[in-house]
């Protein structure tokens, strides 16, 4: 059967929900609401941490599913708890999918071709068959690191395309020291512009009817000028834009990531949503005891702010 194209599905969901919001499920046990924290005295063992994380994610997924198009699970926050944490990651992917959310595995994997194929099978399914359709870590899309070039990205792309799933390649990340390698001057232009052109070209065979396709790009919200420039360089590449909220970017700063129709990008906020009760104005309005209301208000506000800045 013909698979849907991930870029098409993502754009369709943006239109349907009138939302460009991705909520990052990056749980930190020490910051969970008191009611969900592993009890004091517990040494933070992995099983207790994993159970608390899953319970918290279940609640957050319910709270945000109306306003977000997708959730993004940063696997590091699960992986740090070992096998138990990885099972919490798998459980979280399932819970989000059951609520109709697109699920992005923020794994930033990248390796030589034969190894990349193993990662791709685990996170996106086998290119040919359905043997690993039940793999614990299957997401609708994953992030990958482009440092190894096309033979490292290719296996992810093939597995994704075969299964109607997607890939977001890092182009320009949101962290301050991304300049050290990514902004290196290569023939009068920063390296990330060359990487952008590679990504746009790698994705070309996998475009859908929306103009976007299987391969997207990660472009940090914390560099607004670069965001607009990269939108020009990658007209057929959907953007996943991290760095909104806790990392400092506002709606006006991410507007450059979108195309003229206000599509072509989704914006992620993690701590700014899931720990909304820790920051103004939600701390004052709700506080920790009403953390659920804070999460709901924060995601609704983010949705409205970005939609208005782009429509």
């Amino acid at each position: 059967m013909t698979q849907h194209n991930f870029g098409d599905v993502l754009m369709e969901e943006i239109r349907r929900k009138e939302s460009q919001v991705v909520v990052g499920l990056d749980p930190r046990v020490e910051r969970l609401p008191a009611e969900l924290k592993p009890p004091p005295g517990d040494d933070g063992g992995a099983a207790a941490a994993a159970a608390a994380i899953t319970a918290f994610n279940r609640a957050v997924i319910d709270l945000v599913s109306e306003h977000a198009v997708a959730v993004k699970c940063q696997i590091a926050f699960y992986e740090q708890y070992g096998c138990e944490g990885m099972c919490a990651y798998a459980a979280t992917l399932r819970l989000a999918r059951e609520r109709g959310l697109i699920v992005i595995g923020d794994v930033k994997r990248g390796d030589i071709a034969s190894t990349a194929a193993a990662y791709a099978a685990g996170h996106l399914g086998m290119p040919g068959g359905d043997a690993s359709a039940a793999s614990d870590f299957i997401a609708d899309a994953v992030t990958v690191n482009p440092y190894l070039g096309s033979d490292g990205v290719g296996p992810f792309l093939e597995a994704a395309a075969a299964n109607g799933r997607g890939v977001f390649a890092l182009v320009k990340t949101s962290n301050p020291s991304s300049v050290e390698v990514q902004d290196r001057d290569c023939g009068g232009r920063p390296l990330y512009e060359h990487v952008a052109e590679l990504v746009e070209a790698w994705g070309e065979p996998y475009r859908g009817s929306s103009g976007y396709g299987t391969l997207g790009a990660v472009v940090g919200a914390t560099f607004p000028k670069q965001l607009a420039r990269l939108r020009e360089l990658m007209p057929h590449t959907a953007f996943l834009v991290p760095g909104f909220g806790a990392q400092g970017a506002a709606a006006s700063q991410v507007a450059g990531a979108f195309d003229a129709r206000g599509e072509g990008a989704v914006v992620n906020s993690s701590r700014g949503i899931i720990f909304a009760w820790e920051r103004s104005p939600y701390r004052e309005a709700y506080g920790e005891t009403r953390w659920r209301d804070a999460v709901r208000a924060a995601v609704a506000d983010m949705r409205q702010q970005i939609w208005r800045a782009t429509h």
Copy 2:
């Protein structure tokens, strides 16, 4: 207590064992010896695959522990089997450590600082305490991707230094398309030379008495000229050199990775050792029924070839 420095420990092991060999434990279920393969008819479920992998690794670790200084576990080949696979990864790390081998987790992680800290806690332990000393995925060293710059690598380095462990940052990888990004001309020099200088500088505060330290570099064996050039650019950085054997490099080609004493580097072979019975001359000499003898002969030969090429 003062921790040992990883670079010092690695050099000491090279001298003590007269070996610069790392065996890559990158199991592929479909290539396991018949006696260990999940039975035909079994659909390759994750639990059966994980059990077969662990049994195979146990045997290989026993066979190679005399001749290798370290094993390197490519986590992708475990991760593809989901939670069960990750537990097989954890079990393999434990088995190798019990046999006195240095254990390298080939995870190639890399992310923004707060996320990198979570990965580092899971794979190298907490910088300050011992809370996660029991984490399932703790290795003696891990590989990291430098594309995000110093704030992505820093948390790994701090966690490693605090626990006497190590980090190998990708500089020049062994795959053909590594040229697309890593060899990009940046001011008359390829990008990887700039990355090499960054890595040498990042590692400077963490050097031990051997001249090497906490931070090493991954430099592929498949580019011999670049290997020698990078040795010059990173005189205090230990090299982890993949690409020997199945990927095509011979002992003479990796000689440039070593310092004048024949130290400063370790060379990895994965498929060339663990599936030695599939290739000449071991196929003819042993075949699959004597696959154990083939593995033992292959690792002994590799040890001798590299030692002779460097001493």
